[in-house]
Symmetry: C2
DNA sequence: TTGAAAGCGTTACCAC
DNA sequence: GTGGTAACGCTTTCAA
């Protein structure tokens, strides 16, 4: 493989001139030289060595993407969009599956440093953990996707950008949709352990309840997921919750699932119990994974605008690497309703 | 960040001694020196700079993984296993989504070269394409997953390892299972365009037909997928095929889907047509994606042993990078039946 | 057992 | 406009 020196020799110029065309400093040479150099690059099939470039400049065109598990459809969708957005800037993405294990996360961060990666996107992990904070202090630009950041954290102390769907709004949209379609007795089905995004969704749900004076009974039905980060635990949880919900009296006529995986389980559980969706109970999920359009009935959901969020994350990564002084910010994206067939039609529709 | 020189200075030794402990050449120094150096590394929190190492040695501890789309569950499962296997050797995985576009594939390969990556796994793409062949010639070690390699290619000419499930066997297992459970009139549902893995599956299917004298009628039902590499096109295809199959007379009582995505669509199509699975028609898929256990009824399938295949691929990558003379080989893995509830119970069960 | 020094392929600064 | 050259952080060879 030809290197910069070969090109220089072939074109009869100095290495620095070649480097100049490589870096777009075209004002520093005559068109003729430039022509000659480009010619040489072409005939020698020259590809600049990124590693050497990097050793000089200190960075690679790569970002890290840390996800709990790429097999989780929400995260593979994220990975795809992030990859696409990164590609648009000629960056590649390094994948890390951590299963939320701290040591895997730590190892990932160390590797990113060692490889000269300057920015990473951390999905659905508590970014306040020591290793993230330390990494940020050492100059790693970190963006937190699906915020688990306390929203009231002191702005001065904020170290990370945070990009997420407005989960309060998502909870609100889901609940309102059920009510608009005529549900009178709705509940929310969730995993028991609280994360920021989960409590935001629950907040949104409660807002709607309040506006419609639907208080009173226990309306948040929760269950602890079984251990292990199996890829179907959320679904199994949803299945279990279906039974719980059917035992409530009076029986709910609508349920919002904290996420689509739970919703899919719910659908299965209700079906096995012989309850018809949406005739007897309406179900709506949150997250809109591809699977949701394939369930029976196709499940309505609330969708994060991933194809906008991923480009923003990449944009911010780029900007903050370029200018480390830039203060981290919090970005909230408005979710949208995706109406399919798991929610009853309006009485007057 | 401390560098090797800082460590050397701090420990009062030369850079080369530090390099020696870094590279495990412990026989070349007194235990005392070694001790001192390790001490220094620790107190300075030294992390060797991989980029610099790489510039010298010429390679990074990274592999590339080229997939059509990470959102496709078969490939996210692959990505997970490959990542895991790579991690076990302290390698990281660079992801490339190509949607089977040639220019994306080419760009990916170029990037891999530029970043010093020495080995890539190419999933489900025709590896005989010029850019792969060229890359191999230039020293990139390529492993082809889910073989689209002509199996009768001259061994002398083989440039790539090929690792895949034995697709003939997979087709055979699926068809036999239907027949053992009492189906008398089985068909295979597939996308129309032929790939190696598809025709192997069809071969296996035909073998069974022959053994049971079930020849005669048209038994391979195919349909062209609509363009675009949407992530649900296979499923929509399956949905369409359901209608076609119900029109066959006499109506089939069992169908093997070329892959699980098609199978899921088939299930949906049959359900919407009011046909009960497995009572009226049995369905079995091939590939065993996580989704298949969540369908209604949970879909039986034939499973590639990914958790064995991924480590082998990494192993081979490592070996062939280490020893470029090593001849490429073809590895075939025996698939296994995953019996769920979309196939009728035996008459005598 | 240790150290000095020559690269690896680039970039960037400074002379010419 | 162009060219020379010192880094960047490491590995490796060779001499001490």
């Amino acid at each position: 493989m030809a290197n910069i020196r070969d090109v220089a020799t072939y074109a009869g110029v100095s290495v620095s001139s070649v480097s100049n065309v490589l870096n777009g400093r075209l004002d520093q040479m005559s068109p003729a030289t430039r022509e000659r150099i480009e010619q040489a690059m072409h005939t020698l099939n020259y590809q600049p060595n990124r590693i050497a470039q990097q050793l000089k400049t200190g960075h690679v065109r790569m970002f890290g993407l840390l996800v709990p598990s790429i097999v989780n459809p929400s995260f593979s969708a994220l990975a795809r969009e992030v990859d696409l957005a990164a590609r648009a800037h000629n960056y590649r993405v390094l994948l890390g599956n951590t299963y939320r294990q701290e040591d895997e996360e730590r190892a990932f961060i160390e590797d990113m440093f060692a490889h000269g990666v300057r920015g990473i996107i951390v999905a659905a992990s508590d970014v306040r953990k020591m290793h993230f904070v330390k990494a940020a202090r050492q100059g790693m630009v970190i963006i937190n996707y699906d915020n688990r950041l306390a929203c009231n954290i002191d702005n001065e102390l904020r170290q990370f950008d945070s990009v997420s769907m407005d989960n309060v709004e998502a909870g609100r949209i889901a609940a309102s949709h059920l009510i608009e379609r005529g549900c009178q007795n709705i509940v929310l089905a969730t995993e028991a352990s609280l994360t920021m995004s989960r409590s935001h969704k629950i907040d949104g749900f409660h807002t709607v309840l309040r506006n419609h004076q639907l208080t009173g009974a226990q309306r948040v039905i929760e269950e602890k997921a079984l251990g292990g980060y199996g890829d179907t635990e959320m679904t199994e949880l949803g299945y279990a919750l279906a039974g719980r919900i059917l035992n409530i009296s009076p029986r709910p006529d609508g349920v919002v699932a904290l996420n689509d995986a739970v919703g899919v389980g719910l659908l299965a559980g209700l079906r096995d119990a012989g309850v018809s969706v949406p005739d007897e109970i309406s179900v709506i999920g949150i997250d809109n994974i591809p699977l949701s359009k394939l369930t029976y009935p196709p499940m309505s959901s609330v969708m994060p605008p991933l194809e906008k969020m991923a480009p923003l994350m990449i944009e911010r990564l780029l900007q903050r690497i370029d200018n480390p002084q830039l203060a981290p910010e919090e970005f909230l994206f408005a979710p949208a309703l995706v109406s399919r067939e798991s929610v009853r039609k309006s009485d007057n529709g």
